[in-house]
Subunit: 355 residues, 2 copies
DNA sequence: CGTTGCATCCAAAGCGCTTTGAAAGTGAGT
DNA sequence: ACTCACTTTCAAAGCGCTTTGGATGCAACG
């Protein structure tokens, strides 16, 4: 008996077979399962029980063909051909989004595309009817993909924003400018005057905004920005280490460092250790913390003073906004600006007295 | 003119429309595009040009329905409901796999499932016809999902292996046992006798194998294993820190630590720093390095002595093996065992003289 | 000139579902 | 008894593709 049920659960059964077993038409069975009102409660129960028993699952391709919707959302991972870098926030963002997708009955489809073929990847995904909407990640300044997606007419949401693009579009972003403004001001208030910025790649929109916040805070405090103290590259540990190390050897080294990610902050920390400096006492460090699941910023007391904003949460919200957009394609563009939280940890302290 | 072409590129055109434009039947157009021989070279060229010009892309759902294949491969991310942890290797593994999928014309579909519904997730993915094959990640000892997938008849490959499962199945794995055996022996050769193991979760198959390698090396050297020095949990930075810290406070603390991931090794390093110990001099550390793109183990000289094996490469190979399996469902089970490379960095050194 | 064989092309069926338009059944109202 | 208004069910069309089983035309052959 168990055998039979298990066998049934493993077999692929289709509507036709199921309706024959039930002695009903495909129409009725379909309606019963999809909750249409034109079917009596009795038969509905009977149909659902049979579907359950035989492990019937509507073929999603057929369903998609018939309904014109694929119930799939596309993500494109731009795997930079040069550095082969996968953004570490990727996993958590996707996990958040996927959770919401599942909730609303959507699947998530990925495509890997190198820098040169990203547009093509989106186009293919949508025009083949493979997805109902897409997520655009890691927008640059003047991001050209936004216009492309607009023209294609595919519902989409941007994780981040793009300075210079003035057509309206949906986005969700952290307030990078205010985060870094606050972080910088916090350091200034602690007496720091030589504050370094170890930022992400310059053409990334978030990096621009963070720098803007940083510069604004300096300006408000009447401090001049020193180009020597502003670095930018892909946010790896090695890079954080390398730049810090370089700056610590300057004639007039920084007493505080702002890092655009926890990963590069770990590199900063390593450079400090190597230089025999104690983080929080000799040099203060503030990191931006995406609250990644495998890289929590300490347990009770945070390791790093940080501007924190959960990227997983952003993924969830992005998913919801996109699904809303798919449902109402003609609504006005929506956006959501998340404020990062400034958590104070052990990595910051008053500026040391120069001997 | 450009306008027209762009418009065409953005519109969704179907086979029927295209064949009408060409004055050919759908059959011929379809055959021309799919490389069948029953079509003259002249018309083939004409058809391809028209398809190109009008931006025709066959609807993948319709195609799937007709062919019975979806050209999609499924991954399930088990988002542990308790700790909400996303495996950091996830991104790189997927990037590797997705690249190969694209090469062979496959798409990649994700599903998020919590611990309790993973089986259901796989079942749904396959029986709905949404995927042609699936990848099983993070197998535990006696992994029950393997039998489930076998019974369902879905082509699959396991990233890792599962001790205790004796039915044959496809897998690709790093030789965890030999890696950790060599790493441990390396430490023993340096004179270390108190060697700690900071491992992954105990029920994970890879963790068992690593421990086996570690124990074997100790045994070969005639050393007794101390349960106090063997820890296991989810491989976060915080965990690496916490366990190291605990062990360093033991009466007879370890002089060397093996860490199951770079992330936890970073936590180990932090604990050493806090304790005022210098890594490589006071305490040696060896980490397992998945060669993640954002967490390279130094540039020229590795930071950590490590057992290295690229998880991105594993993703690529897994993809190829799975595609092969889909093509030949009845071939005998295949497997691939990758040997990790032992790279010597700055984190190891001879055992210090106890004072 | 009638066949044969081959190269091209096509009409139509079918993949598994949803949905339209209609038919059959049921009970109330006159 | 007969109509009316539902309720419940169904047959068939259609989604966009592939593929089967011809049809057509043409050159070559006897």
């Amino acid at each position: 008996m168990l055998q039979i049920i298990e066998g049934a659960l493993n077999s692929k059964m289709n509507l036709k077979q199921l309706s024959e077993i039930l002695g009903l038409s495909q129409t009725t069975v379909s309606r019963a399962l999809n909750g249409y009102p034109e079917v009596s409660e009795g038969t509905r129960v009977r149909v659902q029980a049979a579907a359950q028993k035989h492990g019937y699952r509507p073929n999603s391709r057929a369903k998609g063909l018939a309904t014109g919707r694929s119930m799939v959302i596309g993500h494109v991972i731009p795997s930079s051909s040069q550095h082969e870098m996968v953004n570490p926030i990727f996993g958590d963002f996707v996990a958040g989004a996927a959770r919401k997708y599942a909730e609303y009955g959507y699947d998530l489809m990925f495509t890997n595309a190198d820098d040169t073929s990203i547009e093509e990847a989106y186009r293919s995904l949508f025009q083949r009817g493979a997805v109902d909407g897409v997520v655009l990640q890691g927008p640059k300044v003047n991001e050209p993909r936004i216009a492309v997606l607009k023209r294609m007419g595919v519902p989409f949401i941007v994780h981040g924003r793009s300075t210079g693009v003035d057509t309206p579009y949906d986005w969700i972003d952290v307030n990078n400018k205010s985060s870094f403004l606050r972080a910088t001001r916090f350091l200034i208030d602690l007496g720091h005057r030589r504050i370094a910025l170890i930022n992400g790649l310059e053409d990334m929109d978030f990096a621009q905004r963070r720098r803007a916040g940083y510069l604004e805070a300096l300006k408000q405090a009447g401090l001049a920005a020193d180009p020597e103290l502003m670095r930018s590259a892909e946010m790896t540990e090695v890079y954080g280490h390398h730049e810090s190390r370089g700056m610590l050897q300057l004639e007039n080294p920084p007493t505080a460092i702002l890092a655009s990610s926890m990963i590069s902050a770990i590199g900063v920390r390593r450079a400090l250790d190597e230089a025999g400096l104690k983080m929080g006492r000799d040099v203060s460090v503030i990191a931006h913390d995406d609250d990644l699941s495998y890289l929590k910023n300490g347990q009770d007391v945070p390791i790093f003073t940080a501007t924190r904003s959960s990227v997983r949460h952003a993924g969830e919200m992005a998913a919801e906004m996109l699904i809303e957009r798919i449902k109402f394609p003609d609504d006005a563009a929506k956006s959501k600006l998340l404020e990062a939280e400034l958590v104070v940890g052990r990595s910051t302290g008053p500026v040391p007295n120069r001997t």
